[in-house]
C-alpha cells in the first residue's frame, strides 16, 4: 500500500516536474563543524553520540532552554505552548528570538522539521512516543524533564553541556549555581517547613518532597512538609488535608484568579492553619515555580524564598 502509493505519486511527480530529482539533490546536509572526537553521553534511551557541534537546537521543554541559556546558547525553536511569556524572564533576556514549535505535550513535528535543526532535546516523559519521528528529523537527546527532581535537572543540564560542546562552561555555571544557592541558604533559616502548591480554580496541587520545587526547598536548607503516604510529585489536597500537613510557610502559585485558595481564605478552618495564623502565606509566579525548572529557575526560586523570609515584596504576577 505504502510503496504502491509512493510509486504512483513519484511517477506522477516525475512526469509533472522533469528535472526535479536534480533540484532535490542540491539540498545537502548542513555544513557541520565536525569534532575530532565524538561526544558520547548517557540519555534516557541509552547512549547518545554526536560528532559535530550542534548549532541549530530545538528544545521541547523549558528546563532545556534554561540549560542552554545558562551557557549562553540560544535554541532556534522552543515548545513554549505558543506563549513566549512562559519562558523564564531570565532565560528570555539571554537567548535570541526563537520560533515556537507548539505545545510541549504535542509539539508540531513539521514546524520542527522546517527549522532544520541539528539537535533536538526532548523530554522522556512527554516525547517517548515520537522519539523515532524526532530522530528522523535530527539527532535527538532525550532526558527527563517533567517528572524530574532538582538533582535530575542539574544532571540533565550537565549532559546538555557536554553534547553542545560547552562542558567546561556548564561545569563552571553549575559550580556558580551551587555558590548562589549556598548564599541564599545562608540567608534562610534552617529546617523551617515550607510547602509549595499551585492553585487552580477548583483544586490545590501540593508539590511534595519528590517534586522539583520540593528538591529546591530542601537544597536551600529548608524542610519539606510531610504530605502523606507514597507521595508522587504532585498531590491534590483538600482543605482538611491541608490542616493535617500544616506547614510553617505556605507558598502558593495561583494559575487563576480567584483560585481555590482565595475561596478557602474565607473558611473558618483556614484560620486554624499555622501559616495563616502567623501570616506566612506568600504568593509566587506559578509558571516559574512549576513549569520552568532548571538552573536559573532554581535561582529565581531561591531569590523568591529569601524575599519571603525577609519580608520583601515579590512579584507574583505571571
Amino acid at each position: 500500500m505504502k510503496h504502491f502509493l509512493i510509486m504512483v505519486l513519484t511517477c506522477a511527480s516525475a512526469l509533472l516536474f522533469p528535472g526535479l530529482s536534480q533540484a532535490a539533490s542540491d539540498n545537502g546536509p548542513h555544513p557541520k563543524n565536525t569534532l575530532d572526537k565524538p561526544v558520547t553521553v548517557q540519555d534516557s534511551k541509552g547512549t547518545f553520540t554526536i560528532d559535530y557541534r550542534p548549532k541549530r537546537i530545538v528544545v521541547l521543554e523549558f528546563s532545556f532552554a534554561d540549560a542552554l541559556a545558562s551557557v549562553g546558547v540560544s535554541p532556534i525553536g522552543i515548545a513554549d505552548d505558543k506563549d513566549p511569556s512562559r519562558v523564564l524572564p531570565a532565560v528570555r533576556k539571554i537567548i535570541k528570538p526563537w520560533t515556537s514549535v507548539g505545545t510541549r505535550s504535542q509539539p508540531s513535528l513539521e514546524t520542527i522539521a522546517a527549522l532544520k535543526p541539528d539537535l533536538i532535546i526532548a523530554d522522556i516523559s512527554r516525547h517517548a512516543g515520537v522519539y523515532a519521528d524526532l530522530q528522523k528529523i535530527a539527532p535527538t537527546l532525550i532526558l527527563p524533564s517533567r517528572r524530574e527532581t532538582y538533582q535530575d535537572s542539574l544532571k540533565a543540564a550537565a549532559i546538555i553541556g557536554k553534547v553542545i560542546g560547552k562542558n567546561k562552561k556548564m561545569q563552571a555555571r553549575l559550580a556558580k549555581h551551587q555558590k548562589i544557592m549556598a548564599a541564599y541558604a545562608k540567608q534562610l533559616p534552617k529546617g523551617v517547613v515550607v510547602q509549595f502548591g499551585v492553585a487552580r480554580d477548583d483544586a490545590l496541587f501540593l508539590h511534595t518532597a519528590d517534586s522539583y520545587a520540593g528538591g529546591v526547598i530542601r537544597a536551600l536548607g529548608l524542610a519539606n512538609a510531610h504530605t502523606g503516604r507514597n507521595d508522587s510529585a504532585y498531590r491534590q489536597t483538600s482543605l482538611e488535608q491541608m490542616l493535617s500537613i500544616n506547614p510553617d510557610y505556605l507558598i502558593i502559585g495561583n494559575y487563576t484568579h480567584p483560585s481555590i485558595v482565595d475561596k478557602w481564605e474565607k473558611e473558618p478552618l483556614w484560620s486554624v492553619l499555622k501559616a495563616a495564623r502567623e501570616h506566612h502565606i506568600f504568593y509566587v509566579n506559578p509558571n516559574v515555580w512549576s513549569r520552568c525548572r532548571g538552573i536559573m529557575a532554581a535561582e529565581r526560586m531561591g531569590q523568591d524564598l529569601v524575599n519571603v523570609f525577609h519580608g520583601n515584596q515579590i512579584a507574583a504576577k505571571p
Partner: protein, 319 residues
C-alpha cells in the same frame, strides 16, 4: 443512477481533502514541494512522506473503520442513536490504556496500542458474557452503556488519585492522530480484512431492518448475524481506538449522515459510511492542525465539536 451522484461528490471531497492535508499544516507547502516530498533526501521529505502522508492515510483508515463499526451497530440495534460507544469498547480500551500509563509509567509506550486493543476486546467479551448469546438488543445496549459508564468513572477515579499522569492520559483519551506514522498504519492493515466481511453482511442487515420477526421468516439467522456484525464492529473499533485513542462521535455521526445521503440499503450505506467517516476525520485533523499553528489540537476535540451538536439535534428530532 441517482445514487452515484452523492458517491461521486463525496469521493471528490475525499480526494481534495487528501490533497489539502498534504498541502497545509503548520508550514504550507506548494504542490511542487509536495511532489518533491516523496523523494528521499528532499527538503520536504520528512514533512510529506514521514508525517503528512501517513497521517492522512491513517485518518482515512481510522475514519472508515470507526464509521463502518457505527453503521453495523446501528444496523443491528436498529436505533440511529446507537454507536460503538454503547458496547463499551472504546471506554474499555481507554481504561486499559490509562491503567497501563499510570501503573507502568516506565514501560515502553510502543506497547500501548496492544494494551488498549486487549482492553477493548475484553470489554466486549464481558458484555457478551453478561448478556449472553440470545438477549434482546435493548438489554445489550443498556448493559453496554452501564459498563461504558463504569469504565469511564474508573478512569476518572484513577486520574484523580494519580494527578501526575493526567496529561498523557487525557491526551490519549481525546483521540489524536499526532505522532502516528507508518508503524501504526502497518498495525491497522490486518484488520482491514474485516471490511469485506462487513460488506458481505449487507443484504442480511437489510432484513434485520424489517424487524426481527420478519427477518426470521425471510430466512435470516438473526442471532448469529447479530453476533457476527457486532463482533466485526467491536474488532474494528478496538483496532482503531488502540491506535488513535477514542475519537468521539465519528461512529455515530458518519453512518447517520450516510443514511441521509444514500438511504438505508446496506449495500450502499456501508461503503458510503466509510467514505463519510474518512472525510470527517480528514477534515477534523486538517482543522486541528491548521487552526492555530504550531499548536496541534487533538482531532478528537474537533470531531466532538462537530459531533456533539449533531447528536443533540438528532435527540431533539427523534423525540
Amino acid at each position: 443512477m441517482n445514487r452515484f451522484i452523492p458517491f461521486f461528490i463525496i469521493s471528490v471531497l475525499l480526494i481534495s481533502l487528501v490533497v489539502a492535508n498534504l498541502l497545509f499544516g503548520a508550514v504550507s507547502l506548494s504542490l511542487h514541494d509536495v511532489f518533491r516530498g516523496f523523494q528521499p533526501g528532499s527538503d520536504s521529505y520528512f514533512t510529506i512522506h514521514e508525517y503528512r502522508l501517513p497521517r492522512t492515510l491513517l485518518a482515512i483508515l481510522v475514519g472508515a473503520m470507526l464509521a463502518l463499526a457505527g453503521a453495523l451497530v446501528q444496523g443491528v440495534i436498529r436505533n440511529p442513536l446507537a454507536s460503538p460507544d454503547i458496547l463499551g469498547v472504546s471506554h474499555g480500551a481507554g481504561l486499559a490504556a490509562v491503567v497501563y500509563m499510570i501503573y507502568f509509567p516506565h514501560s515502553s509506550i510502543s506497547w500501548l496500542p496492544a494494551v488498549a486493543l486487549v482492553g477493548g476486546l475484553c470489554a466486549a467479551l464481558i458484555l457478551w458474557w453478561l448478556c449472553g448469546h440470545r438477549s434482546s438488543t435493548i438489554k445489550l445496549a443498556i448493559t453496554g452503556v452501564a459498563l461504558a459508564t463504569f469504565y469511564a468513572s474508573t478512569v476518572d477515579f484513577l486520574m484523580l488519585i494519580k494527578p501526575l499522569e493526567i496529561n498523557n492520559a487525557l491526551l490519549w483519551l481525546t483521540g489524536s492522530l499526532w505522532g502516528r506514522s507508518w508503524p501504526q498504519i502497518t498495525m491497522l492493515l490486518p484488520w482491514l480484512v474485516l471490511i469485506p466481511c462487513a460488506l458481505y453482511l449487507a443484504k442480511s442487515l437489510n432484513l434485520i431492518h424489517l424487524g426481527e420477526d420478519t427477518a426470521i421468516s425471510l430466512g435470516a439467522k438473526v442471532n448469529s448475524l447479530r453476533l457476527i456484525a457486532l463482533a466485526i464492529a467491536v474488532a474494528l473499533t478496538a483496532a482503531a481506538v488502540s491506535i488513535c485513542g477514542p475519537i468521539g462521535f465519528l461512529g455515530l455521526v458518519a453512518p447517520h449522515l450516510a443514511r441521509k445521503l444514500f438511504g438505508g440499503r446496506h449495500q450502499a450505506l456501508l461503503p458510503a459510511t466509510m467514505l463519510v467517516g474518512a472525510v470527517l476525520l480528514l477534515m477534523a485533523d486538517l482543522v486541528a492542525r491548521t487552526i492555530d499553528p504550531p499548536i496541534e489540537l487533538p482531532a478528537g476535540i474537533m470531531t466532538a465539536v462537530l459531533g456533539a451538536p449533531y447528536f443533540l439535534w438528532l435527540l431533539i428530532r427523534t423525540k
